[in-house]
């Protein structure tokens, strides 16, 4: 057994054990902590499977934002689950066993893990993405070039989904739903946690700087718009948690935040329309810099990643503010 297989199996076994423990746990705060551990081990597995961009995103999104949102939801509802009666467990177990059995039976036809002659690897598009992207675009990180240029329309659709989710959360938990709460402010008592305040204040500019670095460095290493937006939002979540929500909302007023949510989307769609007006098709970045298509692609990818970063950061921050600003009715 090679080292790779050993590490792979160990991490997957840790994941399965964590999943089993989460499913049996009735104390939901503890289950949330284990879910964060789950996401972190998954990020390690992604690195092992050579998906460094995905590992980055999973670590930032799954461990950071997901945990904070779950904790926010738990603080606004009940945090202890009732015992599942036996008659409820049986249908679930039967469905899971049946589906699992079907999947394992069907997986016999799958090509082996890591084989180099699978239909995935031998499709001509692989050569386009890995070799021709160097001539067309010239960016070392092929994941960024595929995400922002070759499959740019998918990314636009996903940005729309993120904006819709942000608007949905604002409609459900925003200030319009309970106007009588308008002046309510939670008294935050973190004045004794001096070390935390000093260290957080020290780290805030570096977190935001790191987000910008990830955004612009996404062409040469793992990174890009999504990771940058999430790290940016994490900085503001930290600020809001340590210094209080009203201070955080004085730094980022609601009007500014809410107008940033559609701004990235409008930038993205605007870029597509501009490239159409310049003679190409929708989101054809070649036309952005006449005479030098590679430079046009660079410019287009930069603008698209910036648009994604702006929208994702604004959506995640406003979702956190909505959860944190909601007064618990318990």
């Amino acid at each position: 057994m090679t080292t790779f297989v050993l590490i792979n199996v160990t991490l997957l076994v840790i994941l399965t054990a964590t999943a089993l423990t989460i499913s049996r746990m009735r104390a939901l705060y503890e289950a949330t902590m284990l879910t964060a551990l789950f996401s972190l081990v998954t990020a390690c597995l992604f690195v092992l499977l050579d998906a460094v961009d995905v590992a980055f995103t999973e670590a930032a999104v799954g461990v950071g934002i997901s945990t904070v949102l779950l904790l926010g939801g738990l603080s606004l509802t009940r945090s202890r689950e009732t015992v599942t009666p036996r008659r409820r467990r049986l249908p679930g177990a039967a469905v899971a066993a049946l589906t699992g059995g079907t999947l394992i039976y069907a997986a016999q036809d799958l090509p082996g893990f890591g084989a180099a002659d699978t239909p995935v690897q031998s499709h001509p598009i692989t050569d386009v993405y890995l070799r021709q992207s160097q001539e067309d675009i010239g960016i070392p990180n092929t994941v960024t070039s595929v995400l922002a240029s070759y499959r740019g329309l998918d990314t636009l659709g996903e940005l729309v989904v993120v904006v819709t989710a942000g608007v949905a959360v604002l409609l459900l938990l925003g200030p319009l739903t309970r106007p009588e709460d308008a002046g309510w402010r939670k008294a935050l008592d973190l004045v004794d946690y001096r070390v935390l305040r000093v260290v957080s204040g020290l780290l805030m500019p570096f977190i935001l700087l790191f987000a910008l670095y990830v955004l612009f460095h996404g062409d040469f290493g793992p990174g890009g718009g999504f990771q940058a937006g999430v790290i940016f939002a994490t900085g503001f979540v930290l600020y809001g948690l340590v210094f209080g929500l009203d201070k955080a909302q004085r730094v980022l007023p609601k009007a500014v935040l809410w107008s940033l949510i559609p701004l990235g989307l409008v930038l993205f769609i605007g870029l597509g329309v501009v490239s159409m007006l310049l003679g190409g098709s929708f989101l054809d970045y070649d036309t952005l810099s006449p005479g030098d298509p590679a430079a046009g692609q660079h410019l287009g990818i930069l603008l698209v990643e910036a648009a994604i970063g702006i929208t994702v950061a604004a959506v995640m921050t406003s979702v956190f503010f909505s959860f944190a600003g909601r007064r618990a009715t318990r």
Binding site: V5, L12, V13, T57, L69, T84, V143, G166, L172
Partner: protein, 119 residues
């Protein structure tokens, strides 16, 4: 067979645990946690399809010949962000359900709805 397919079987086990939690447990928040476990299983399955033995991350650099496939990674990157967006909406809905009914347990919600329907 085991040598070449062990990853897929372990990942299917993860997916099934998540599916079981979504179906069997009544607490809405626990269902959301189970859903995110199921999603992670799907992501791992997808990315393991793109991996090549002896390859490296699909960032073109000097001296590397084989790269793992970038397309599954692009699709999963999108899926992760969409997953957390739906988690946010699901949690917001659970909070509103709690404020309206006083509980997030599915059984109690159904009882309360049926009581209101009959009275």
């Amino acid at each position: 067979m085991i040598r070449s397919h062990y990853v897929f079987w372990l990942v299917f086990a993860l997916m099934m645990i998540g599916l079981y939690v979504v179906i069997s447990h009544g607490n809405l928040l626990k269902k959301l946690i189970g859903l995110s476990m199921f999603q992670v299983g799907v992501f791992l399955f997808f990315i393991s399809l793109g991996k090549v033995d002896g390859g490296s991350a699909p960032i073109i650099s000097e001296g590397v010949e084989t790269y793992s496939h970038p397309l599954p990674q692009v699709l999963i990157l999108t899926a992760i962000v969409v997953g957390v967006a739906t988690l946010a909406v699901g949690l917001a809905l659970a909070v509103r359900v709690f404020e309206a009914y006083g509980t997030v347990e599915e059984e109690e919600l159904l009882e309360r709805d049926q009581d209101e329907a009959t009275t």
